[in-house]
């Protein structure tokens, strides 16, 4: 059976070119970049080059890029580091209800430490309005953290507008761009972004490496104390192969960018339209237009998401759900609930996220299988039975 991977928002396979770029830094060039001899200097150069690649993609300077172990670390550092460094200026942070848990749980931690956090509502498409951000600003606001694009529903936020507001009010602006990388063009200077988190494994790079862009001139508490790596702010011998992989992955993610987005958008729209057309009582979660080119998230009434995933898996299709049963918490997705979708409907959501390797045939296969999978679960659903009885 062919395997169809449609969970690229969870993680992506490492590209061959990325792996090839990384491999020399395991055995041949294994030196510690901090050492002075030649074999180590090759590694220092490799790290510097990767930093340049990341900086170039973001419109930043190389000395504004700090490598981390991934997106979650970058998010944690941005929030905790800014909160601590600017605590004399204020203790209020503005974020949203649909952020990744790396942001939400860090905010909850900061609340316990005496910080005040405003969690902005989103509209029914998952959009945060610049007006809401501006209205939440108070005298003691030190940081605004709004995700670039949402990982579950793919909604892209008006980051440039929020950046303008932050700048006008002299408030630091962080964005979690983990899902947006490789799917939207980013220019941190033009968009007034002060800090930006990104991760390699979402863009066909390796797991365990990411970066935080920190605008020059910002104060931030150091994350790891130790040696002088990452300008003393995040000590520890560099993950050289990982960093090289991130550099290569980010470069490739913006190569033939327009063609890649065009292809993804066509497949995405085919899947969205096909599912909504072929399966009754379904709806699209998230924004139809302001949406990541690879994200499909559909609410299916009267069934539960995990059971759909199991049946899809039986057909070789890997997808994801906002149902409680896949989160381990028994609560459905906080993102879907923030859109105003009731609990019972949030349980029946299914997310397909496309990648560069997906083909039209694969989308056709999903569209062929999904109606019978849904029908099968509905045929044993007491909710569907009640619904049919009511509409007799």
């Amino acid at each position: 059976m062919n395997k169809i991977y449609l969970d690229n928002a969870a993680t992506t396979p490492v590209k061959k070119e990325v792996l090839d770029a990384m491999l020399p830094y395991f055995m041949e060039s294994f030196g510690n970049p901090s050492s002075v001899y030649q074999i180590a200097q090759i590694n220092k150069k490799a790290v510097d080059e990767a930093r340049e690649q990341v900086a170039k993609t973001l419109g930043a300077n190389a000395n504004e890029i700090f490598f981390t172990s991934g997106g979650s670390e970058a998010d944690n550092w941005a929030l905790k580091g800014i909160a601590e460094a600017y605590k004399d200026k204020g203790n209020h942070i503005i974020t949203s209800k649909i952020e990744h848990h790396a942001i939400l749980h860090t905010c909850e931690y900061l609340e316990k430490k005496g910080y005040e956090v405003t969690y902005l509502d989103v509209d029914e498409k998952g959009m945060i309005t610049p007006e809401a951000v501006e209205a939440a600003i108070k005298e003691n606001t030190i940081l605004i953290s709004i995700m670039y694009a949402n990982n579950e529903i793919g909604t892209i936020n008006p980051i440039s507008e929020i950046g303008k507001i932050a700048k006008a009010h002299h408030i630091i602006f962080h964005t979690d761009a983990v899902q947006a990388m490789g799917q939207v063009r980013i220019d941190v200077k033009e968009q007034n972004i002060d800090l930006l988190s990104l991760s390699a494994h979402k863009i066909n790079g390796p797991k365990g490496v990411g970066a935080l862009y920190i605008r020059r001139g910002l104060k931030i508490a150091n994350l790891i104390h130790g040696g002088g790596q990452e300008r003393g702010r995040r000590a520890g011998t560099e993950n050289v192969p990982g960093i090289v992989g991130l550099g290569k992955a980010i470069e490739l993610a913006y190569e033939d960018f327009d063609a890649k987005i065009e292809k993804l958008t066509v497949l995405r729209d085919k899947l969205i339209d096909g599912l909504l057309e072929k399966i009754p009582y379904t709806r699209l979660n998230g924004h139809r237009i302001q949406r990541l080119a690879n994200n499909v998230n559909v609410g299916v009434e009267f069934v539960e998401g995990e059971s759909l995933l199991l049946l899809l898996d039986m057909n070789g299709v890997a997808a994801s759900s906002g149902s409680a049963c896949t989160s381990g918490s028994l609560d459905p997705s906080h993102v879907l609930l923030a859109l105003g979708i009731p609990h019972e409907k949030a349980h029946g959501s299914i997310r397909f996220t496309l990648g560069g390797m997906n083909t039209e045939e694969e989308i056709d296969f999903v569209l062929e299988k999904m109606p019978s999978i849904v029908e099968r679960m509905r045929s044993m659903s007491p909710l569907y039975e009640d619904f049919l009885n009511k509409n007799k």
Binding site: S307, L310, D331, H343, P382
Partner: protein, 151 residues
Amino acid sequence: MYSEKVMDHFMNPRNVGEIEDASGVGTVGNAKCGDIMKVYLKIDEGIITDAKFKTFGCGAAVATSSMATELVIGKTIEEALKITNRSVAEALDGLPPVKMHCSLLAEESLHAALWDYAKKNNITIEGLEEPVADVHEHDHDHEEGSGCCNA
């Protein structure tokens, strides 16, 4: 994540459907929490001769419904009352801890159907308590992995 038996009962659920002239029908759970089980029992002279179910829920919810109906067919009412969430889970070669509440629903739905039978026939079944409307409001802290959405 799931045992082979759970997957078998999920992929090939036994006894899906309805019994038109059921002796007792029980529904537990709620859609808010993501699972509802509805169990139909046919009872002849104190013996459960048939059982059917409909379930809205995850793989574990479907599998436990299927297994519970399998276990209950052919049993006396007295024996049926001895079917616990733990025995359903064991018959499925175990469930992940977070899914144990699904097996509780299976036990509760059987009890609810028996309660309905007793009420319809104006009899008292010893050891059977009135089921709560929403099993999730029921205090089951003693069960591992219990509890549903906190909302």
